[in-house]
Symmetry: D3
């Protein structure tokens, strides 16, 4: 069984993340969508909120399992017997950062491969921080996040 | 009447900003130079200081009006009946970030267009944070900010 | 009257070019869409073919005038009394080349300004050479060029 | 059976290409390494030479099949019932071009996905044209191409 | 005597920094490796710790002198009678930031030149923050920092 | 004696090249400015014309020697006992290509180091091909090339 991990802060999950996950499930038998417990920047949503929003958004994908992890991504990947890490690339993208992370992870464990998938052009501008910023000013985030998240964020 | 908005933190206004504004006034009948009240990063100068420095620097431009705004840029642009947002690009530039903002704003209101103007090569290195850093160590900031701002910053 | 020039090879005109022109007509009173007579790379379509395809595609835009020019863009702009040159930027873009051209043109005539407009995310991948390549293999170019051009290219 | 295509000019195949193929065979059941019959730039080696060099280099990989194709990559992928196109990314890389191609291919057939794999840091500088240039001056290309290709190129 | 300065946060010094220093000592008679006393981001290690780790790592380089400085780099360079500032570039690199700093320093003193040296491909992924992150989770940092630093960091 | 090589097509030499050479002579005892006899792209000016223009432009620099070379740059550098290759970087720059060349040269001879110097902001837009293009249309190239070259090119 081919297993992959899609790690991220998901603070919150966006339509761009879902787009990547939909592509990943065609390539793998099992995809762990794994919220980072301790991201470098203090997250806006708590870990349990971020995991819950992922679960609400991904309920219908049978191959997907939402989890969270602490510590090194590589250690988590080994525990899950996952040989692949998935990362999304946007045309507008901190590609350099992604490459640096992928090379560092390869240095830590050369048997685990990072693959990059491309988000849809229409999500090029989309990031979690953009969503948070627009939502905080009462802007319209429809289409930027899954419907269930949109309702939840506008309630706040 | 063609109206444009030039938004920014202006923390403080630099000669690069003035350069962009001088180009903008040739293209538009009215240019709102709008200090962001609540930028993502905590500003060094207060909103009233940033607005005052803009006013001192831009007094002679008849088409320019200095203001500030809170909330979504798009909402402010609508209120001002401005169909255009102006952004400066430097050869050395976080172009990706600018593009992401512009696409997000277009998603929020497709009738408001972002246009990019190019700063002079000589200002390529110039940013507000660079000015603050040099000024804080007593370095020479002449030519980096308008004369009135230079006097003000060196007094501090 | 505010006049602008949108120069290019247009070999052939694409939906991305039309997208930029639609944005330009909102900003200017008159837009010259000007096919370069002698582009650096030998064009695939002759100058008269490229101009004809532009005319077919742009007939309905009252503010647009299709022309061609030889020699320096700056000389052509002066002749047309145009103070602005328009260039499109794609998220996937040879931004560096555009910037170099714009700075060179500014050096030649500092009174003529280059402004950059952003194409729609959906056209990010689109270029004239991509269209030629796909069409040459009988691929589907619908949506990549105006309808009138699509019919013409598939006839060949 | 998960099938992928790794297309390229392979003019000639380099150690960087082999590195990508070694990563691809861990992810897929069958990998078609497909030499482009008609690349945009006139190739230095003939199609049969390029295919032969690939075959010599890849004989030991049971999952790999060397082929060539003309026309659209997407048509070839459909014929092979391959749902994935593989592309290598180098830290030093024409990433923009790769992204443009991938988005164009997705537009032509949204069911065929492009994934990006990262070459080893040590091959960052390596390209077919670099190899040809160094070999043409009698420079040392050991480590830049598979051993069998090295012998062949130095014989010429 | 040709004197150069290699400034940085060195928070902590990495194998990539050492690689640059080894290249610098071939070009200059004296190289000051200068820890920035007051970097923009709050450092993880104290200034005395950062200087001590540099001293441990660089003891064997006779031309190298480890120091620290406060205030403007240009003022420090003048005091040391150094006409050259050395910066390392990685294939994966915030090149734009480096260029901005170098142009700003040239504006402050045109007689002091910045030169860029290239780190080894194998260190492309390496940064001080990456080392801190991996070390904090108990990951393996061998090869990422000098041996003496590795022992020190794993003791903590 | 510290010896460096500054290789290029110099087709023709520009003010940007001279700017780099002026910086190089402060760092080295001897600088060979070496015109590539056989550049990848067919040059516009013959090798003897390119060398002659360099000699006219550089007569006053005592440390500079104009030469030409065929074959591998690394072989030429060894013959000249030069341990350093100099390359100029522009803010607007094909940095990736420069890095690729530098890494390839390091692979061929690890004892020869490439260093990068930064051109003046005012030359950011400047390239030999830009000069040729403007000159061919009778445009004003003053300031873009040394005075002696300007006279020569406008005579043609």
């Amino acid at each position: 069984m081919k297993t992959a991990i899609y790690p991220g802060s998901f603070d919150p999950v966006t339509s761009g993340h879902i787009d990547i996950i939909e592509r990943a499930v065609k390539l793998f038998d099992r995809v762990y969508v794994a919220a980072i417990g301790n991201p470098e920047k203090e997250p806006f949503f708590s870990l349990s909120e971020r995991v819950e929003m992922l679960q609400l958004s991904l309920a219908k994908y049978k191959k997907v399992k939402v989890e969270s992890f602490d510590g090194l991504l590589i250690d988590y990947a080994r525990k899950k017997k996952a040989a692949t890490i998935i990362r999304g690339l946007r045309a507008i993208s901190d590609f350099d950062y992604e490459f640096q992370m992928a090379l560092a992870n390869r240095k830590l464990d050369s048997k685990i491969e990072t693959i990059f998938l491309m988000t849809r052009g229409r999500y090029a501008y989309l990031s979690s921080s953009m969503v948070r910023q627009i939502a905080s000013f009462g802007g319209d985030i429809s289409g930027m996040v899954p419907k269930v998240i949109e309702r939840r964020l506008s309630r706040e």
